[in-house]
């Protein structure tokens, strides 16, 4: 009975939602036609090429135009790591080691050893080239964290130092915030670009964008590795398949 009611309710909600969005249209300019409306995306696209010299417009929005959002996003991740630690916290003597029955076969271990440095390199490539190609600090950080996940899976006694993680994380976060504050130099504003912008499609272009992305990459990598490590160390009360 409850199911039927819920399905009916959802059908109504879905119908209205679909009606609204189909009314907006797909693949067309959906903004209201008026002289007053100048969608900001056009300004973004124009400024990206002309003033910032960044190839990837998404990057320029994420890091420069709306860099404050990214600061918030990084904070959300930081908070969720903290929240995870605080929720899953147990007193020291309750906490167990990682419960590994036996190690992976030598093929997997050797393979992870071989693939681990290239995965790190791929992550580094993604966040260094964030302003030139798809990707950026966040994605690069995720890739690096996934590399660590591979090592943690393959070696039962592979450990990541918690202190090292939090040091990296803190330094990266501080770098981001300090770069933001350095924008106040020369009478600027928070997060304002203070470096020369270079030329389009060059590695050294976009002013502070690559630096911020590198900081974000390190931070995200450290945070997500922390998440993985925390949950991997979590030991269930009951073992089952």
């Amino acid at each position: 009975m409850k199911k039927v009611l819920v399905i009916l309710l959802l059908a109504v909600v879905g119908f209205y939602l679909a009606d609204v969005f189909i009314g907006i249209g797909f693949g067309n300019d959906h903004f209201v036609k008026s002289d007053e409306i100048k969608p900001v995306k056009d300004i973004y696209l124009q400024q990206t090429v002309e003033n910032l010299k960044v190839s990837n417009a998404v990057t320029s929005i994420v890091v420069n135009f709306r860099g404050f959002d990214t600061l918030g996003e990084v904070t959300v991740l930081f908070l969720s790591v903290t929240a995870l630690g605080s929720i899953l916290y147990r007193k020291r003597h309750h906490a167990g080691d990682r419960s590994v029955l036996f190690s992976a076969s030598s093929i997997v271990t050797a393979g992870s050893k071989l693939l681990f440095p290239p995965i790190l390199l791929l992550g580094a490539y993604v966040f260094i080239h964030g302003h030139l190609s798809p990707g950026g600090g966040f994605q690069g950080g995720v890739i690096i964290a996934t590399g660590f996940l591979l090592m943690l899976l393959a070696y039962e006694n592979y450990t990541v130092s918690h202190n090292a993680l939090s040091i990296v994380e803190s330094f990266a976060g501080i770098t981001f915030a300090v770069i933001g504050l350095m924008g106040f130099m020369n009478g600027g504003t928070f997060l304002q670009n203070f470096l020369p912008v270079g030329t389009l499609n060059d590695l050294f272009s976009g002013g502070i964008i690559p630096i911020i992305y590198i900081a974000v990459g390190f931070k995200v990598a450290a945070e997500l590795t922390g998440v993985i490590y925390t949950v991997l160390n979590e030991k269930g009360d009951q073992k089952n398949g």
């Binding site: 036996f102 076969s105 093929i107 997997v108 693939l115 290239p118 398949g241």
Partner: protein, 124 residues
Amino acid sequence: MTYYEIIGGILITIGSIFLFLGGLGIYRMPDIFNRLQAGTKATTLGAMSLILGVGIMEGTWEWILKSFVIIVYIAFSNPISSHALARATYLRGHRPYIKSEDKEKMDAYREVVENDPKRKEVEV
């Protein structure tokens, strides 16, 4: 139409055929190990040749280098993952489908699993 495009087209065709065969293989085979056999081999070669074909079709060295690195990754990672999967399945207690009569002899791995106290089958 240049030679690049012809070679690339041929490679793409071959690759897509093998990808299709991979899908068909994992559909038709009787048990998980045979499915892995079909899935791994056919899709690996399929993906490799298709990606190389795309690289050659575009014909610039950037494309070829990039597709080459994807190929290398796939060639290394795909067998590892299927190996890990096969081992996991076996250790979980699935025995391969064996057609012939002599079941003991055809399953050489069983002795290892059953003799090793550490490697007891995972309790459910």
